[in-house]
């Protein structure tokens, strides 16, 4: 084990690659024909997507009765998947905005990709509330627009807050992402060899000129956007948690839900980003840009958020006991030892116990192990939403109506389809846009900034 020298700043990018090589490296996937492996991967994701589409068509034709949702569990897979996917999105904004505000330079290598994943994850998440309303083509009524019924939506409803939060989140993430892409489009424009590429990149780069008079405002706006995106990302999962927590259902009504959901979202999002990055850096040979140190830092954040989630589990359990409310107490005992105990213990072992392995530096820096742990974290976080949603509903105040929730095949198909949808976008993104920010990565290569001392 090497001893870290604390007097020196760690290089974000390994070696000291010439700036031009960065251009070449990052634009290579855009200029080369996809390999066989890419087509195989795309076939797999498209098939998954196809299965999901079949599930959706069945649901549209026969109605939501095709799903496992039934009394008393009216919120089944669709909400679980929605919360899961929104959560996945959170890592992207966290990396691009919060770590930017904290001046963590190592984020520059992974920010673009993570932001892309945010956008795709929010798109995936958006499917579920839309299909859960039953007639997605009428989803326009969710927004307050002057209509012929002179009706307005219910502003007291957390579900409406969700509509605003998720759509704002999508738009702002997209804007943030596009602002970051403008200088890179300029680079691609100046490297373009064919006319069609040149036209496309000229339009998308808006005629960016790398002028410092622009850079100055650009950096300020980037800072402002990061400053807005940071509370925004907190607010989105906070509002998702309100969907549950404003209800008076035991197990849902808990004041710690907002920060707990945010921590969980970051946790699962980092795990997903970690999974995808490990593959991307290998295939595109970005090992010196997305370094093992970066991955280690991500693992540390996963460990931290995992423990925050564990803190919330423990605090909920303690307060349920401390409240002296027998129904509250029953709900939590029922979670851990009732009919859904299997789901509960999958959640605890994947979310709290697995990340504890990251205490060991060796594990934090071993790629296959961290990949497996990240997969487990994703599974665990999906089950966390399952446990919260289903256990509280299945065994509520009225024992005569208790029932055991069973998802149907269509539920499974739509879940599979959501993964297909997400990864199809990820694959397309990786071949059409620069997955690492060229300008940002150049700015953190050793020697790319003026040395301060001399003048």
């Amino acid at each position: 084990m090497s001893v870290v020298d604390y007097t020196q700043e760690l290089s974000v990018v390994e070696g000291k690659p010439p700036l031009r090589s960065i251009d070449e490296l990052i634009s290579r996937p855009l200029n080369t024909k996809p390999t066989k492996a890419y087509y195989i991967a795309l076939t797999v994701t498209l098939s998954m997507l196809g299965i999901g589409v079949i599930g959706l068509l069945l649901s549209f034709y026969y109605g939501t009765g095709m799903w496992g949702n039934n009394n008393p569990v009216g919120w089944g897979f669709p909400i679980v998947n929605f919360v899961f996917w929104v959560g996945i999105g959170h890592a992207g904004t966290l990396i691009s905005a919060i770590l930017f505000l904290l001046r963590q330079k190592w984020r520059n290598g992974i920010a673009r990709f993570a932001e892309g994943m945010t956008i795709f994850a929010v798109m995936t998440a958006g499917i579920f509330p839309a299909i859960h309303v039953g007639r997605p083509w009428l989803a326009g009524y969710l927004f307050p627009y002057p209509n012929q019924h002179s009706l307005w939506p219910n502003f007291n409803s957390p579900l409406l807050w969700d509509v605003f939060a998720v759509s704002t989140y999508f738009i702002v993430s997209f804007v943030f992402w596009y602002v970051g892409l403008i200088p890179d489009f300029a680079v691609l424009r100046d490297r373009a060899t064919t006319k069609i590429k040149k036209t496309i990149y000229s339009v998308t780069s808006l005629g960016w000129r790398n002028s410092n008079r622009h850079w100055q405002h650009y950096e300020m706006v980037y800072l402002v956007l990061a400053g807005f995106a940071t509370p925004l990302v907190l607010s989105v999962h906070t509002i998702v948690s309100f969907d549950f927590a404003v209800a008076v259902l035991p197990g849902w009504h808990s004041t710690i839900f907002p920060p707990y959901f945010v921590a969980g979202a970051v946790f699962s999002g980092f795990a997903m980003v970690q999974n995808v990055l490990i593959i991307i850096r290998k295939i595109f040979k970005y090992e010196h840009i997305i370094t093992i140190d970066t991955l280690e830092k991500m693992n540390k954040i996963m460990m931290l958020t995992g423990m925050l989630v564990g803190y919330a589990y423990a605090m909920e359990f303690f307060i349920a006991w401390y409240s002296g409310n027998p129904i509250e107490q029953f709900t939590f005992v029922n979670r851990a030892f009732g009919p859904y105990a299997w789901a509960y213990w999958i959640m605890v072992s994947c979310n709290v116990l697995m990340p504890q392995l990251f205490w060991f530096r060796k594990i934090r820096r071993t790629i296959p192990v961290m990949f497996v742990i990240a997969v487990f974290v994703n599974v665990g976080m999906w089950f966390e939403r399952f446990v919260i949603t289903v256990t509280s509903l299945a065994n509520d105040f009225l024992p005569s109506s208790w029932a055991y929730y069973k998802p149907t095949l269509v539920d499974g198909a739509i879940l599979l389809g959501s993964f297909g949808f997400f990864f199809t976008w990820v694959l397309l993104f990786s071949k059409t846009l620069p997955v690492v920010s060229i300008a940002e990565i150049k700015s953190v290569i050793d020697g790319s900034q003026p040395s301060h001392g001399e003048h």
Partner: protein, 378 residues
């Protein structure tokens, strides 16, 4: 080459230290219209160029607060004025519940507008006709070199001096940039056939899609399922019931809500003895009686119960309500008349509900007393 217009003189450098030094030197010489082009923002360049701090945060602040107040006002107006509905026992204007949306719209408006203002107002982008485009200079500074350019429009512009300055600063390539004549003289016109036809096509597409989705698509399976449902609609024929009616009669003995059965049909004397006016004499009850009397009773009995009908003899005039007989009737006896009618007077049981009948009786008593007041009333 001869008739080309000079835009600027440019120099390329290889290291960030050199470009900072160059920018400082150019700034010191007093040039105003110059710019530095770098592949990424170089730290300390703003200071070297002595740029004023960006004013964009004010733009965000303005649009942010606009979003806050707009959303607050919007929700206040929609939920407490235009369409007030009580939800969850909360007041119409429940501020804490509005905070999430206020926050979201603040962020949305600030973030989107800041970017739009930056690109469109501050940078004047998109601009694909700038002379820098397609030059070697641009290709160098977008990749790995650092360039500085002094525009020909600058007051102190002098080719030789600038060349010398750049050479002294150690530039490895010095190059003039010219306007592209074709682009420079190009004038855009709105009424170009291409543009017009584009507008027409877009218009046709939009209106066609709208027409199709609103008038055709909504009548197709499964989008029309909300309209055609397998249930019996009011007034519809039913093959299920033997009588063929879709609507059913209520089960025998069904009592409507708030219905109070009348036990003294054809028994006026029993009604007089057993029924007591349940309403207290209050202003509200008297006003109710007043209103109802004027609507239902006054056409025949007259506004003051004197039997002066307004029907001009088309219907027999009723006797006065001020007669000894009626004055001595118990309330219950009058109630019986309201329920069953008397002589030519029909029943008013279906026009007046329980409370209204008793309120009308209270009002009749008022009328009677006004004409035949007791000594004590004076």
């Amino acid at each position: 080459m001869d008739n080309k217009t000079l835009y600027s003189y440019t120099a390329l450098f290889r290291t960030p230290d050199e470009i900072i030094h160059a920018a400082e030197a150019v700034q010191e010489k007093g040039y105003v219209k110059y710019d530095v082009n770098t592949p990424y923002p170089v730290h300390g360049m703003d200071k070297a160029m002595k740029l004023k701090p960006s004013r964009l945060p004010f733009v965000s602040m303005f649009f942010g607060f606009s979003g806050t107040f707009f959303s607050l006002f919007m929700m206040y107006w929609m939920a407490s004025i235009d369409y007030p509905v009580i939800v969850g026992g909360k007041p119409f204007f429940s501020f804490p519940a509005y905070v999430p949306i206020m926050f979201e719209l603040t962020v949305l408006s600030a973030a989107v507008m800041t970017v739009i203002v930056m690109l469109a107002v501050f940078f004047k982008l998109p601009n694909l006709r700038h002379p820098f485009h397609d030059t070697d200079y641009m290709k160098a500074v977008s990749s790995d070199q650092y360039g500085i350019s002094i525009e020909a429009e600058d007051e102190k512009f002098n080719e030789e001096e600038i060349k010398a300055l750049f050479e002294e600063l150690g530039a490895h390539k010095i190059e003039p940039i010219y306007f592209d004549d074709e682009e420079y003289t190009f004038k855009q016109t709105v009424f170009e056939p291409k543009f017009i036809s584009l507008l027409v096509i877009v218009g046709l597409l939009v209106s066609g899609t709208t027409y199709f989705s609103l008038n055709k698509l909504m009548n197709m399976i499964p989008f029309n399922w909300m309209r055609f449902q397998s249930k019996v609609i009011t007034q519809e024929e039913s093959t299920f019931f033997s009588d063929g009616f879709g609507m059913r009669m209520p089960v025998k003995g069904t009592v409507a809500r708030e219905h109070i059965p009348y036990l003294y049909a054809d028994k006026p004397e029993e009604a007089a003895v057993n029924l007591v006016n349940p309403l207290p004499v209050t202003k509200a009850n008297l006003e109710l009686g007043h209103t109802k009397f004027n609507i239902f009773c006054s056409p025949c009995h007259g506004y003051f119960g004197e039997g002066d009908s307004r029907l001009r003899g088309q219907f027999p005039n009723p006797p006065s309500l001020h007669s000894e007989k009626v004055r001595n009737w118990k309330d219950g006896r009058i109630y019986h008349v309201l329920m069953e009618g008397q002589n030519s007077m029909p029943s008013y049981a279906s026009q007046l509900n329980y409370n209204e009948r008793w309120a009308v009786i209270l009002y009749i008593r008022v009328l009677q007393r006004s004409l035949n007041a007791k000594e004590t009333d004076l």
